[in-house]
Symmetry: C2
């Protein structure tokens, strides 16, 4: 069975692409950044703020949601969009990555991964079929296949074994997904660590199976940026041009600019909210640490030319005070400011690709980051 | 020097009053509830949400603000309203109450109270004059005199000594305030613990000194509600009818309904935000503990007839999940829901007093609380 295509490629500029991905809950403009709403909530933001910041789609973590509140409960309450009130497109991961990073006593077998919940120690089995079932119960617009992700650096033998297992799980995931209603999507995940031949082998095998879209997994797990970009360069040209490409767990603004230039369409990362909780702001002029004493008496906003009200309208002195005092509002404002900057960057890339000026956009954006923050006063 | 009056009494109904208090940053409709923005921020709320919930005025804590970011710094940044972006009326307390409850090694002398900062141990002296200076630097619309508050139960001798000291500090506070620009206000604070004669003596002496308004302090510090109400009944009739009356640190919705019936105009309390952070919601049907498992599968909102979107539009199941998962959004939503309910109660009282139907309003409101929450399902 071949999956229908829901992606429309609107324009390309070099290897960079802009398009529309149509999901049951709305259209996603690409390149797209998906803020991460881990357990059905975006840390420090109301959903209306996520929407206002320009996000078309958000990511939910299957691992967290299956443990609490539970997939069957979310289904009975009408699905994640209705349960949370986000009411827009949602992508869920397979749960596999967080089983590896968060749970205890995990054991990977051919049939499934078993682990103990980090919340209450319950023993749980997650098979490719169960992962798809959970994601269907959650009602996610885009489900991800279960895979095994190897932390780099790793031995080639380990990377290959995990890649081959992920391919067998990809086939089982696809079979489990075939009864899903029309419009919902399943993405396969390219593995293969930092070995070009394995990446290409994985990509070709996934295309043979056939998915709505293709993700590149197992990157941004500790390797240098150059390795990550090289793996994208090995993989992207192999992927079908008419399907969306999603680079999982990435990244910094710099990572995303480089990845889009190499043909990536979608991203997710906890960085804007996590760094926001730690007093860091992302702006056109790089990252700014609001905890730094240089901001204590500075009435100027982070970026007076920003169209986002909190970025252009709130003083560094106030943000500094909130961060130093541990006030929730500091984390709320910086998370919102960072999500808005990530979305502004995406909008800038979409426009530039559409106008055929992506190279200029890259230069200007890099120049802003290189200029750095305004001098203290 | 006699202070001009900025309070307009619009209507009375029994002892209940409704009016307008005009401050340099806007008009405050009374009865008024002032949400507490401790250190220049409302925990879990954006200022726009505080405003949208119906608050005309908020309270800032001088003790916190003098320690961090510091009064001179706030003044250099344009005052609290501009610094925080609240841009509306603000009342600041004198700092005295939190010196007593939070700081270490405090010592009360005739001239001043000395203490060590709970943040960095710095030794600080707070005199009535310095408290006024700080509040003027902060730019608060309504400043409070420095007083000494005794925790109940206490010996009559201790209560009287603190009351007399507070009166001498009231005189010094007034002299220190006389150079403030027109429109800014200073309130005296009635002390006297649970001794009617001392309460009346304190009130009469303060009136003799002359303030823009009068607060009743030293209540809601551990005594039964009946004692608090009895003290209001002893004090309120002594206070000038044309000046606003503020019951400090109170309280529950029940407390406020009773206090308004006895002639109180203004309140402040951390309860709506603090209880919100602990999973409790205030509604027309009493307090609801969202942590309770009965809500886990309940798609119904807290109160479907509420005009506040988060109260009528978000399921108990989602709120329960957020509270159980420790998600910031749970505290954000419940704090907002509680501030909105407190403001709805104030608006209800203002309308009823204006219409001469306050007794009916009291009965209906009490009937709602007595009815309690809807049955689980």
């Amino acid at each position: 069975m071949s999956f229908p295509n829901h992606f429309e490629l609107l324009a390309t500029d070099g290897n960079a692409r802009t398009g529309h991905l149509t999901t049951p809950h709305g259209v996603v403009r690409t390149p797209a950044f998906m803020p991460v709403g881990t357990a059905g909530a975006m840390k420090g933001l109301h959903w209306r703020e996520v929407r206002d910041a320009g996000a078309d789609i958000v990511l939910g973590n299957t691992y967290h949601l299956m443990l609490r509140p539970g997939a069957e409960r979310v289904a009975a309450l009408g699905g994640l969009q209705r349960f949370t009130g986000w009411n827009g497109p949602m992508l869920t991961d397979s749960g596999g990555f967080q089983v590896m990073s968060l749970s205890e006593l995990r054991k990977v077998r051919e049939t499934a991964v078993t682990f103990r919940s980090h919340i209450d120690g319950t023993k749980i089995e997650l098979s490719p079929e169960r992962s798809i079932e959970i994601q269907r119960l959650l009602g996610s617009d885009i489900a991800m296949q279960l895979d095994e992700c190897v932390r780099l650096p790793a031995e080639r033998g380990d990377i290959e074994r995990a890649m081959q297992l992920s391919l067998r799980w990809a086939e089982r995931s696809k079979r489990a997904f075939e009864t899903a209603p029309s419009g919902y999507m399943l993405f396969g995940i390219v593995q293969g660590g930092d070995v070009p031949a394995l990446r290409q082998q994985s990509a070709r095998a996934l295309i043979e199976i056939g998915f709505h879209g293709y993700a590149i997994g197992g990157l941004a797990v500790g390797e240098p940026q150059a390795v990550m970009l090289a793996m994208i360069e090995e993989t992207a040209p192999v992927l079908p041009e008419d399907r969306p490409r999603y680079l999982m767990g990435v990244g910094t603004p710099e990572d995303m600019l480089e990845a889009v230039a190499r043909g990536i369409d979608m991203f997710d990362c906890v960085m804007p909210t996590r760094n926001g909780r730690h007093g860091m702001a992302f702006t056109r002029f790089g990252q700014i640490n609001l905890r730094n004493a240089r901001h204590a008496d500075d009435p100027r906003p982070l970026d007076e030319a920003s169209t986002w009200p909190s970025t252009s309208g709130i003083s560094r002195a106030y943000l500094h005070h909130l961060v130093r005092s541990g006030e929730t509002l500091g984390a709320m404002l910086l998370s919102e400011i960072n999500i808005a900057y990530y979305q502004e960057l995406m909008q800038g890339m979409r426009s530039a690709i559409g106008n055929g000026t992506f190279e200029d956009f890259q230069k200007q954006t890099r120049a802003g980051w290189a200029r750095g923050d305004i001098a203290a006063r």
